[in-house]
Structures are given as structure tokens and as C-alpha cells.
């Protein structure tokens, strides 16, 4: 394209201008049918050996989770080792850990949709799936927390024989509403996004079973514009609804702590700090999952270095916000007049049993992501993968630091005690990883891992005026030559 021609003179689309050309979202000029084939091929072809190598142990670990739950319900909550000042310990740590991971999916699908970040299309499907599976893992903990699992329906505001109703002023009840709403809305969002892609799977299906099942869930989608226009409105509305929702869920989770009077928990910084941490940890988990998936299934042209670069930048940003929150917490405990607060933080960072956990957290969450200031590091996939795992670990430590350190040394010496997890808690945590990975691998096996229709929509030729511009350009070039 000639440098002398300006946009104003020849009515050229701005994105065609040299100099401000954006990096394409799909590399190597892939066609629409290539995208369909590549993504559907993952589901239609045999899974690579590594899929089985990961799937079998994951299912076994998920089985261990099932075993620990049966043991718990049949024996009693005593096996959890709750008889110390921290009480639930890991159960709450892991609940908050998993629910935090569940935040990136909705952030990508909702907030990045509203802010028109087109790069979201390559990663939103998988991260929404990750969200759902993480929330499933999280839900297990409060579900079984109640002790008598068969009474868990008491959480729901339904009339019961005792004529008891919930205390709606309790953050624990808000949590029930927040997490269950979040899960339901995420499922709806995910499913509505899947419908056009399920139709693609249906139209390509060769076996009867596939044709039936994909056809059933595609609901007879015909991709007409008379459907698309409502569909797009529905998707936009869901994005607009989920945006405050995703910010509210972890805020409400943080209210569980912040509205109590426990020193170390009773701080107003908790909601934004938890939300930033959740986005931070969620993106780390997205990278942890998508970097291998991208390599394994040959999706490099759709999940490009640009995508990874963007996610690394978000990790850097949110990690720094989290670091600010850590330091601000310390500052307020020093600057404030509450000596219990001061003492709690003194124990947390200087003389307590869990000081090592605090510094692990600080290193993983605040120091390690700073490497992403360097573009070269964001381009190096090994560095990104390792830092993402540091963040995964760091975010777990963050919850560990918040929960046991604050309550292991309470107001009275009689309430002091060292907390370490019981064997059941440990296996249960490993078991949720098994469940999470099994569900994610099944998702890879049966559903399109990238939103096919959305990726097609961000190709340059998908713009209805693309070929008009091409024509204008060709004519202009011809005129120049002539």
C-alpha cells in the first residue's frame, strides 16, 4: 500500500493504514473452514496419549475426593480435625482459593466483552469452563461444611417444618446467594455462547449419537440474522449483568471475613483486594491450562503470543494491586490505633507460626509477576507458565495467610493453638484438583474449546465492508500505477 495515500483522500478503513495496523488476532490468514476444522477436530478425532495420561490419574484423584466425602458424611465432621481454634482451616482456604480461580472466566467473557477487547474470543470458552469447574470444586467445601450434609437444603429460603427462616443480614447467607447466582449465571452464559458452536458440531457430525446429542443441545440453531440479532442482544445483556456480578461475588466472599470483628479480617480494603486477587489468580489458572492446551492441540494461530502477552499484563496489573493491598493492610495496622490489629499483623509477618507462609505469598504474588514488565519475558512461554504457577501457589498462600493466622491466636490465651491440616483435609484438597482436571479434560474431549463463531467474527474478512475496502484499495493502486 502506498504511503502517499491518506485515509481522508481515499476512504480507506483506518485499520488498513500502515503504521497503526494492529496485530491480527488469528495468525497466518486462516480461513473460516480452517478454524472450524481445527477446533472441531479436537473433539472429533482421537485424543492424544497425553490426554489419557492426565485423565486417568485425575479421575483417580477425583475418586479420592469422593472417598473422603463419604468418609466425612458417614463418620462425622470430627475427622476434619476441627477441634482447634482455627476450626475449618483448609476447608475455607480452599473454598476461597477455588472461587477466586473461578473469576477469570466471567471477567474475560463479560468485562472484556463490554470493553470490546476482541482478543477475548480465543480464550473465553475455556476460561468460562474453568470457572464452572472451579466453582463446582469450591461449592463442595461449604456444602459439606454444614456438617450434616443431608440438611444442606436449609441454606435455601424455602418453608420448612420448623418454621425457621434464614438470617438475611448474615454475610454467610449472602455468600449462599452470591455463589449460587454466580454459578447459575455462568452456566447460562457459557451455554448461550455454546449454542452456535454446538450447531457447527451437529452439522459436521458423522455418527448418529453425535448428531443426536449435539443436535439436541444446539436446540435447532439456524444462524439466521433474525436469530443472531436477539442472540447478540442476549449476550450483551448477560455480559452487562455478569460484570457487576463477578465483582460482587468475591466482595461478598470477603464480607464473610470483613464484617467479623476478628483482627486481620476486619478491614474495609477486603472487597477490592479480594476481587483483584481473584482476577489475578484466575488469569494465572487460565494460562496454566491454556498454554499446554494450545501446544497440544495446535491452536497457536488462534491463541497467539498477543493473547498471552495481554494476560501476562493483566497478571502484572492485578498482582501489583494485590501488592498494594498487602502493604496498605500493614500500613493501616501500624497507623491505626487498634492494638489487636497491630498484634495480628505482628504475628502475621514477624513472630507468628505462619510467617513463612506470608513471605511465600508476598514473593509469589507481588515480586514474581514484576518480571512481566519486560516484553521479552511475556513472550517467553516457559517464563509465563512458571510465573503463572507461582501465582497459583501464591494465591493459595494468600488465603492461608488470611485465615489461620488471624484466628489461631485469638483474644484469649485459651483460644490459642497451632493449626495444621488433617489428612482428610489434605486428600480432599488434592481430590478437588482431580475433579477440576477431570472435568476440564472431559470438556476438551466433548466441547469446542474455542468459541468458533466468535473467532470467525474477529477475522478481517468477516467485516461486511472488508471486500468493499479491498476493492477500493485495488482500484486506487491501479490508478497509481496508471
Amino acid at each position: 500500500m502506498s504511503q502517499t495515500v491518506t485515509n481522508a483522500e481515499h476512504n480507506v478503513h483506518p485499520s488498513d493504514q500502515e503504521g497503526i495496523a494492529r496485530e491480527p488476532l488469528v495468525l497466518n490468514n486462516r480461513s473460516m473452514s480452517w478454524i472450524t476444522n481445527r477446533i472441531c477436530g479436537i473433539v472429533e478425532n482421537r485424543q492424544p496419549l497425553i490426554w489419557w495420561i492426565l485423565f486417568v490419574p485425575s479421575v483417580l484423584l477425583a475418586g479420592v475426593l469422593g472417598f473422603t466425602l463419604v468418609y466425612l458424611v458417614s463418620t462425622g465432621v470430627g475427622i476434619w480435625g476441627n477441634n482447634q481454634p482455627v476450626a475449618w482451616g483448609w476447608a475455607i482456604v480452599n473454598f476461597v482459593f477455588w472461587i477466586g480461580i473461578g473469576h477469570a472466566g466471567t471477567l474475560i467473557s463479560a468485562i472484556l466483552f463490554l470493553t470490546r477487547q476482541k482478543w477475548r474470543t480465543s480464550v473465553n470458552r475455556a476460561s468460562e469452563a474453568m470457572t464452572l469447574f472451579a466453582v463446582v470444586c469450591a461449592g463442595i467445601y461449604p456444602g459439606f461444611h454444614v456438617g450434616r450434609f443431608w440438611m444442606v437444603w436449609f441454606l435455601a429460603p424455602v418453608p420448612n417444618a420448623n418454621a425457621i427462616w434464614q438470617n438475611f443480614k448474615s454475610p454467610l447467607l449472602w455468600d449462599v446467594f452470591a455463589v449460587s447466582t454466580y454459578f447459575t449465571v455462568s452456566v447460562i452464559f457459557w451455554y448461550i455462547g455454546l449454542i452456535p458452536d454446538l450447531a457447527t458440531m451437529r452439522d459436521r457430525a458423522v455418527t448418529k449419537v453425535r448428531k443426536f446429542l449435539y443436535g439436541l443441545f444446539a436446540l435447532g440453531w439456524r444462524g439466521g440474522n433474525r436469530q443472531w440479532r436477539h442472540y447478540e442482544m442476549g449476550y450483551l445483556l448477560l455480559a452487562a449483568l455478569s460484570t457487576p456480578l463477578v465483582l460482587s461475588v468475591h466482595s461478598v466472599v470477603s464480607f464473610d471475613f470483613a464484617t467479623s470483628i476478628v483482627p486481620g479480617w476486619h478491614t474495609t480494603i477486603f472487597p477490592p483486594y479480594f476481587v483483584a486477587g481473584a482476577v489475578f489468580g484466575g488469569f494465572a489458572m487460565v494460562l496454566t491450562l491454556m498454554l499446554p492446551v494450545r501446544k497440544l492441540y495446535g491452536l497457536e494461530d488462534m491463541i497467539t503470543p498477543k493473547h498471552i502477552d495481554n494476560m501476562a499484563k493483566i497478571i502484572l496489573l492485578t498482582g501489583t494491586i494485590v501488592g498494594y493491598a498487602y502493604i496498605m493492610e500493614l500500613f493501616i495496622s501500624y497507623y491505626g490505633a487498634n492494638k489487636f490489629e497491630k498484634d495480628a499483623f505482628h504475628l502475621r509477618i514477624l513472630s507468628g507460626h505462619y510467617t513463612w507462609a506470608y513471605f511465600c505469598m508476598f514473593f509469589c504474588n507481588v515480586i514474581s509477576p514484576q518480571i512481566f514488565w519486560f516484553a521479552k519475558m511475556r513472550k517467553n512461554l516457559w517464563v509465563v507458565f512458571i510465573i503463572a504457577n507461582f501465582v497459583n501457589a501464591g494465591m493459595w498462600f494468600e488465603r492461608f495467610v488470611i485465615i489461620p493466622t488471624s484466628v489461631s491466636m485469638d483474644f484469649l490465651p485459651g483460644q490459642w493453638g497451632f493449626y495444621s491440616p488433617s489428612i482428610v483435609e489434605k486428600w480432599m484438597f488434592l481430590g478437588t484438583f482431580g475433579l477440576f482436571l477431570s472435568l476440564f479434560l472431559l470438556f476438551l474431549r466433548f466441547l469446542p474449546v474455542i468459541a468458533i463463531s466468535e473467532v470467525k467474527g474477529v477475522l478481517p474478512e468477516s467485516d461486511p465492508h472488508h471486500h468493499d475496502w479491498e476493492e477500493i484499495k485495488a482500484r486506487r493502486n491501479a490508478a497509481h500505477r496508471g
Binding site: S33, W174, P464
Partner: protein, 187 residues
């Protein structure tokens, strides 16, 4: 199927176009011609196609507003009825009255979102008239390309302006690459 001379009036003509641009311009022509029962079927929502087809803004948002309002009122009723009269729990020094109203906000918010999301799902299915697993268009192999890389325009025969010869010629004139007549399922 393609032999329209001997067969009765088909259900519809399915026409494939080269790309989104061609389809966009074709849609403008069909709109200007005054057809009523027609649609374009694309692998992704084509930006601006509503305008090319002469369609207005989707009214799904009205349904969702109604759903969200229902959710809000449900939460209001649920919380104030149970906390106010049915089973007041006066704990944490908090009675249920106007001064403790912030404590009721989270559930108000969550139920508003929950009901809105459900009304997006069910409202959407109602306005786009799904699920409908059978449709005459699924008899067409050409039509199936819409979910891969096909840009398909469908004109149904239930148009007052439809006539077998004329509409086919019209589609050819506006640049259809391939045209197929689709029959309804034999009853």
C-alpha cells in the same frame, strides 16, 4: 431437488454468496425488493446486517427488564416478609428496619441478576423460537454450510412476492453463487 420445473413450489430458495460483503449487499437488495419471509444465515453475527435487512433493535431487553424487576421485588418480599414478620432474627444488634437496610442489599442484587439472567435465557429462546429441532432448511446440504463458512440467503416461498422463476432469476442477478430449492418434508 434442483429441478424446479417439475416439482411443486419449494419451501424456500437457499442461495450461497461468496463472502460477507456480497451477502450484505444482497440483503440490501432483498430488503428493497420488499420480501417479508427471508433471512441470512451466517457462521457469526455479521455486523450491520440488521440495517441491511431493515430490522430494528431487538426487544429482548424489555423482557429482561421485566425479569430483573421481578427478581428485585421477590428479594424485597422474601427478605422483609421473613425478617420483618415471619421470623425476625435480631442478632448482631441488628433488627430488621430502615437503618439496617444495607444488610439486605446483597441478596436484592443477587436475585435481580439471577432473575435477569434466567429471563435472558428463556426470553431469548422464546423470541428466536427455539428449541425447534426440525426445520425444512435442514433438508438442504447447501444450507448446512452456514455453520462452517457459508454465507447463505434464504427466501421462503411464503412471500407474496415469491414466484419460482422470478425469484430464482432475482437471486442470480444479485450475485448468488449457488442456488438450491428446498422442499418441505413429505407429510
Amino acid at each position: 431437488m434442483s429441478d424446479t420445473k417439475t416439482s411443486p413450489i419449494p419451501f424456500a430458495f437457499v442461495a450461497e454468496f461468496e463472502n460477507a460483503t456480497e451477502l450484505y449487499h444482497a440483503a440490501e437488495h432483498v430488503r428493497d425488493e420488499g420480501f417479508k419471509r427471508w433471512d441470512v444465515h451466517t457462521p457469526y453475527p455479521v455486523h450491520g446486517m440488521d440495517h441491511a435487512m431493515g430490522l430494528g433493535k431487538s426487544w429482548l431487553s424489555a423482557l429482561v427488564l421485566a425479569g430483573g424487576t421481578t427478581g428485585f421485588l421477590t428479594a424485597l418480599f422474601l427478605q422483609f416478609f421473613t425478617q420483618g414478620s415471619l421470623y425476625p432474627t435480631i442478632v448482631q444488634g441488628k433488627p430488621a428496619n430502615l437503618s439496617t437496610i444495607p444488610a439486605f442489599f446483597p441478596v436484592l442484587f443477587e436475585l435481580t441478576i439471577l432473575f435477569s439472567a434466567f429471563s435472558v435465557l428463556f426470553g431469548l429462546l422464546i423470541v428466536i423460537m427455539l428449541p425447534r429441532w426440525n426445520h425444512p432448511l435442514f433438508n438442504s446440504e447447501l444450507f448446512k454450510k452456514f455453520s462452517d463458512d457459508g454465507f447463505i440467503l434464504v427466501i421462503e416461498s411464503r412471500n407474496r412476492k415469491f414466484d419460482v422463476e422470478g425469484t430464482r432469476a432475482f437471486l442470480e442477478k444479485i450475485g448468488a453463487k449457488r442456488i438450491e430449492a428446498v422442499e418441505e418434508d413429505p407429510v
